[in-house]
Amino acid sequence: MRTPARDTTSSQNQRAISQPPRLLGSISRWLALGIGLIIVILFFTIASEDWFTIVNYAMIAAIAALALNVLSGYTGQISLGLAFFMAIGAYTAALLGGPQPTSSLDPQGFGLSVLIWLPAAGIVAALVGALIGPTALRLKGFYLGIVTLSLVFIGQYLFRNLSSITGGPQGRAFPTPTFGDFSFSQQNALFGVAVTTGQQYFLFILLILVIAALFVGNVMRSRAGRAFRAVRDHEVGAAIMGVNLFEAKMGAFILSSFLAGIAGALFASYTSYITPTYWDLTLSIQFVAAIIVGGIASIWGSLLGAAFVFGLPQVIDHFSLLPTGGNGGGLNSGNLNALIYGVLIVVFLLFEPGGVLGLVQRCQALIRSLNHQEREGGEPAEIIDLSPHAGVPINLEDATPVKGESE
């Protein structure tokens, strides 16, 4: 591992010096995957349509939370502009995939396939990110936060006025994924099993979420990902080590915008009708809350955070624990939602900056130390066993965290 880093077109070279990073390296991972699959299948067969709605929204939110984590968590660039990039993705999808206008008042649409509009949503958002990035990324810290915040406001103005694409203040309808005759808007037979709209979306979104999570996870283990973290931890240090600050930040910004665009398109498609006011600052802030509550700079953190911030209020609604809506004040589910994530932000930042994931890891460490003490029956001996690592190529997965921080 101490071989000087050559001009790595990363993965090839790393393969040469160690084993390739494996997706499923150990038995415990196979086990986890198996349990995960069983849970998914169980959920898929027994859950009601309401639960699919809750879980589908949470999964879409998880994709957007991943996007924010790439930029803010891994690369350390404050962004409050996620809603803007989600909106760009959503309206790209609407323009390309929406139905052909029947009258001159209808918003534009070309009626293309989901295989075109979904990738296009990401790509257009990424292009817009690439366009804005050079300006925004000159700034650091609070300044970047405020500029990305102003993107949200400028975006709202644009979306209100570009009514041929966005439908103006009244909003517009968004396309449903359709593969030939197989439209998500109706019940279909999949391998002989009848699946509802919610179930079809569930499979589709799950697939995209898994791809996105694996992709982000792998990027973060690559040279690029280590550069991102180096930039976050110490810009000057990173620059001295040969990281191109501008390239690293732009890379993170573009990747983040791409994922945000995909998430926006999926969200709009699943909701099917949205007005421009939806893409406001609150939405951006909810995602920041999600990554803080879940765990900053972590894949699982993004998923957990999205589940907490976007799933929990829906669950509370579902069991109708509190009265909904009303303008009269008092505690209702909407207020509780806001209160929960406001308080969660404060509490987690104060006591557990690692988020829910940090909490889980802390518990694991605690359990491990308890087990350890029982086995050893006394004070744990400090033996560092180096032999397994001696002649064997180092497992890249184990090496990455250390390398990432020190590079």
């Binding site: 650091k140 102003s150 103005y157 802030i285 920041v288 803080i292 404060v346």
Partner: protein, 299 residues
């Protein structure tokens, strides 16, 4: 021409409100390098308390005003003492999110207590009182806003320049360690900064509320327009906040006044985003603002 001057006057008054809110931002930033996203919600709480004081508890206006200021100052001090002080040394991102967390909690608390329907704004003078000079109508509230801003700025100037605590605050802003070394109590300085910011925010909020007759829980969003003002002036410059605020206020009101002529080209509601456009332009040319010190970071 009278229309132009009318807009100009209204713009200056509006700008003074942005300046008051912006002053709060830059005082806190100077002392502790924190941008307080909760400023808008401190203002919201203060304004609601004043309104409740007048209309629910039937206090005289000025007593209600004092009550509102006391409440926000206490919230602000508690937040600084028990939450923010534990965050010293943590990343900018965490501190910023902390203030956003407070922002959400305060707004939700207001909604839970008062509901989301508008409540009337308290006002010490009759809304219609004004005089006309050269075709321009000078409203009493606008004049009071401008006057209060001038008095406050003079007071702050005196405070920062001649009083012991003001000097401590400037010393801390300049170099925290050196300030500690000469025996300045940094805790007092932080507390003072947060207290002053909350006090000014409430004043700004009350003036703004008088202008708009009624307040609802989205009222705190006005603080987001004060961001461009402080960026324009330079985030760590107190006089910059005032100049920035007035520039933003005047351009915004002028755009609002004349945009009906160009709606076909630029669309409706452009005045809502002119502050942000100006801010981005300024940041492109001078990232440290018009009056800010160059040390503000950039690549």
């Amino acid at each position: 021409m009278a229309y132009f001057f009318q807009l100009l006057f209204a713009g200056v008054a509006q700008g003074c409100i942005y300046a008051l809110i912006g002053l709060g931002f830059s005082i806190i930033f100077k002392a502790s390098e924190v941008i307080n996203f909760a400023q808008g919600e401190l203002l919201l709480v203060g304004t609601y308390v004043v309104s409740a004081g007048v209309f629910e508890w039937h206090l005289p206006f000025f007593l209600a005003l004092v009550l509102g200021i006391v409440v926000t100052v206490i919230i602000s001090l508690l937040f600084e003492r028990f939450i923010l002080r534990r965050m010293i040394g943590r990343p900018v991102f965490s501190i910023l999110m902390m203030t956003i967390g407070l922002d959400i909690v305060l707004r939700t608390a207001v909604i839970i207590h008062w509901g989301s329907n508008p409540v009337p704004a308290a006002s010490p003078f009759s809304i219609t009182s004004s005089f006309i000079l050269g075709g321009v109508q000078f409203g009493a509230n606008d004049l009071w806003t401008i006057g209060t801003t001038i008095v406050l700025c003079a007071a702050l100037y005196y405070f920062f320049r001649y009083t012991k605590y003001g000097l401590s605050m400037r010393a801390t802003a300049l170099d925290q360690e050196a300030a500690l070394a000469v025996g300045i109590n940094i805790r007092t300085v932080y507390a003072l900064a947060w207290g002053i910011a909350a006090f000014i925010a409430t004043l700004g909020g009350v003036f703004l509320a008088i202008d708009s007759f009624a307040i609802d829980p989205t009222f705190g969003g006005v603080a987001l327009i004060a961001f461009p003002a402080i960026i324009l002036g330079g985030i760590d410059s107190v006089s910059g906040a005032v100049v920035g605020g007035i520039v933003i206020g005047v351009t915004q009101v002028l755009t609002a006044g004349y945009e009906s002529h160009v709606t076909n080209i630029v669309g409706a509601g452009i005045h809502e985003i002119t502050p942000y456009i100006i801010m981005i332009l300024v940041l492109l040319i001078r990232p440290y603002g018009l009056f800010g010190s160059r040390k503000v970071e950039r690549i």
